[in-house]
Amino acid sequence: MTDRRRINGPLEGTIPPVFLTSSTHKSIIKRSPTTLRKIFLKTGLTPPATGSAFLELPTPSTHSTPTLKLTSSVYGPRPLPSSTTFSSNARLTAELKFSPFSTPGRRRGYIRDGVERDLSAQLSIALGKSVAVGKYPKSAIDVFVSVLDCEGGLGDAGDEAGGGVDVGLMSVLATAISCASAAIADAGIECFDLVAGGVAGLVLEQGGVVEEDRVEKSLEVGQDSDDARRGMRKNGKVTLVLDPSPIDGYIILAAAAVGYMAARDELTLVWTKGSMGWDGDSTDEVERIVDGAITASTGVRLVINEAVKERLLLGLKEMGLIRGKAVSGDGDAAMS
């Protein structure tokens, strides 16, 4: 006799599912240090939003390639809630959220944690300088970035790989800036320039697996991390890598993420991480990685430009279809 007041389990025993272990932490591609990953960027994919964009990095070659996927949607300018005070500028808010399934292996909670709050604040700083907030009095512009997949982990929970600096969060922030900026351009919100995010890092050039092992050992043995890092520098050559990925397998000594407005040649955000200049030339090294990050973001800017242009041409074609021949002729003239 079954208990009908409760939800009963199955009569037979069940076997818990066994998942294959993911192999996302493999070093897969060896790009040249100055080559950026290929970016897929498309705007206007979220119909209810005023503007939206989707960014994937790198364009996946196989279905199992770990990628960084982000969507961004922009709402506004819309009226501020009546509880707020009068402001002659638009109020720009940016919110970055990781999906629960974005980190493989460990699900993220729904509640905003410190990492998300920190990245949201940096994102709104990076975008705030570019948007012409003075043109939209008494209104709010809301930017939402949702991270769908982040390349096998963020490195914020203690799974540091290789003893170096983890650039997972930096590349999330940099791509979030680029994606959100494309969405703002798609929304047609007036802005001074588009912001593109870029990351660069100083890495220890590895002679091979043997040397990598040795470095790791020296890190483990040497309690004084400065000594260990000096040891690392003596073992290998330090080179600049543009757009380093956490799955590339580099040991990153220092990294910088920037938000850069290429047309105005202005930085909106600089975030550096790691330690630099043990020989006393830290300013040179900081300049070197920030310049590297600027180079990376200039490359990303070209992709944003193309994505925004592509959408505009699509809009022109739609207009031609809607309004008949006269406008389509006009549109063609404008396109050529």
């Binding site: 119909p47 009546s82 009068f86 351009a185 047609g188 919100i189 001074f192 588009l194 047309a263 809607i322």
Partner: protein
């Protein structure tokens, strides 16, 4: 249209378009000051155009989101009356007819707003004459559609509107029975079916 000014077919935010002394910055552009010159730069992605008055503008061709308009001072708006009291009428602005500079390439006309904006018409802004004898209940009713002009961005929640002009006032109204009213004179509207006359601050039909 474009007179000997080499404009790109598509402009993106931050892209320099023209120099300021001969040309002027129109909608969708802004000016940047260099030490040597002033440059007109695109601020939205769109198609740049030079107008007859040498102003450069950038218009967005996208039909889905053509314009992002906010009520500005001196722009004519259409609004629906939502609340009424003896001192003021609360309205929600749902369409902007331009009258400003037609920003974002509005130019030709207006647009229906994606979001409504709250506004008020104070009793002293209903008409230009005999301001002390205005009765709000004889000027508007809840549900009327009013053509008004923005006189101030107002406080945190309300735009301040005025109907103090012949062309401004109620444009669409319904009688108590729910039948449409048509204007008789500047202060009266009549029901088409029953002939009942109601009082409104009527906009002059175009």
């Amino acid at each position: 249209m474009s007179q000997n000014l080499p404009l790109p077919p598509i402009a993106l935010p931050g892209q320099p378009l023209a120099q300021s002394p001969p040309y002027a910055a129109g909608p969708g552009t802004y000016t940047t000051q260099n030490p040597t010159r002033t440059v007109i730069t695109a601020s939205v992605a769109g198609i740049p155009r030079v107008h007859a008055d040498k102003s450069v503008s950038v218009t967005r061709p996208s039909p889905s989101h053509p314009l992002l308009l906010l009520p500005e001072v001196a722009s004519t708006v259409l609004a629906r009356v939502t609340r009424l009291n003896p001192r003021q009428a609360t309205v929600e602005i749902f369409a902007i007819q331009g009258g400003g500079d037609g920003i974002h390439g509005g130019g030709d006309g207006g647009c229906v707003c994606e979001h409504t904006f709250q506004g008020v018409i104070r009793a002293q802004d209903v008409r230009a004459t005999e301001k002390d004898r205005i009765k709000m209940l004889e000027s508007f009713r809840v549900g009327d559609v009013v053509r008004a002009v923005v006189i101030s961005l107002g406080d945190q929640s309300n735009y301040y509107l005025s109907t103090a002009s012949n062309s401004l006032g109620v444009v669409v109204a319904h009688s108590d029975a729910g039948d449409p009213l048509h204007p008789i004179n500047w202060r009266q509207m009549a029901c088409a079916r029953t002939g009942i006359v109601e009082e409104r601050k009527v906009a002059k039909p175009i």
